[in-house]
């Protein structure tokens, strides 16, 4: 496979993943759906890093960065889900519009 051609196709999908996640963050009201949107964004970033490593013929550096990214991603998901469960216990809903305690 030609590296620059593969890179081009990969970056098209990266742009798509990033925009899908971004628009999910804007449109969706459910807290779990917002977290899924963040996950989609992160997958776009991972693909961009690995594709860049493939195109520059330096895969090891990008793999180590992606491994760090995945560890950070899991920590973010775990903490965010713990927050979601606590908020659900408090408000009885997953709707982000009900979180108005700090609004005045």
């Amino acid at each position: 496979m030609a590296p620059d051609l593969v890179w081009m196709y990969d970056l098209i999908v990266v742009a798509g993943l990033f925009l899908i996640g971004l628009i999910g963050l804007v449109v969706m009201r459910n807290l779990v759906k917002l977290l899924i949107s963040v996950e989609v964004l992160t997958k776009g970033v991972s693909l961009a890093l690995v594709a860049s490593g493939f195109a520059r013929q330096n895969p090891y550096l990008m793999q180590s960065v992606v491994v760090t990214l995945i560890v950070a991603e899991v920590a973010v998901v775990a903490i965010a889900l713990a927050l979601v469960i606590n908020l659900y216990r408090r408000t009885g809903s997953l709707d982000v519009r009900r979180l108005t305690d700090l609004k005045w």
């Binding site: 620059d4 098209i12 925009l19 977290l35 005045w104």
Partner: protein, 182 residues
């Protein structure tokens, strides 16, 4: 080979879009796991087996388990589903994807042959060499991130009742005007 790669990228985009757009949370989580599996195969194709294994085990496995556990511990209000399903903005991801694809293809058509993307002499000895010698500070950061995650979850799920236990936010006001007006 390129056709398979394109098919995998298409499947990845479709699974990710379904994960965001599907109203049912469990199906959305399953679509996200499928997207992770597809992404790990793409990583294997791009010559990144370690990242692929991490994505498969952690991205598709652990995150899926966490999401399904959280969905099982919560119950969704059916009216929220209908409201999201009726949103006219859901067409935006498709339009945005098409727009970005056109812009991306035009940019790469302009850059192709003008920019050297492969830099000779940058090849490291191995993945372990890169991770433990070049990016050793990342490993320390990973340890820190894991510790922060563990302590945060322990704090959020302590037995006294969670993060809002000692807070004044514990008892929500029944009248919103009373809270916002004062």
């Amino acid at each position: 080979m390129l056709a398979l790669h394109l098919a995998l990228l298409t499947a990845l985009a479709i699974c990710a879009a379904m994960a965001v757009l599907l109203a049912d949370l469990l199906r959305a989580a399953i679509c996200l796991a499928l997207a992770s599996v597809t992404l790990s195969v793409v990583f294997f194709q791009l010559g990144a087996p370690y990242a692929a294994v991490f994505e498969l085990s952690v991205g598709a496995g652990l995150v899926m388990v966490l999401l399904v556990s959280a969905i099982g511990l919560t119950r969704r209000n059916p009216s929220e589903n209908e409201e999201e399903g009726k949103s006219p903005l859901l067409i935006l991801p498709i339009l945005a994807l098409l727009t970005m694809a056109v812009v991306d293809i035009a940019a790469f058509a302009f850059m192709r042959g003008r920019v050297a993307i492969a830099v000779p002499g940058m090849q490291a000895a191995s993945f372990a060499d890169t991770l433990w010698r070049v990016r050793w500070i990342d490993v320390l950061a990973q340890l820190g991130i894991i510790l922060v995650g563990v302590f945060a979850i322990l704090t959020l799920f302590r037995k006294e009742g969670g993060v809002f236990h000692n807070s004044k936010l514990q008892a929500p006001s029944p009248d919103p005007e009373e809270t916002h007006g004062s």
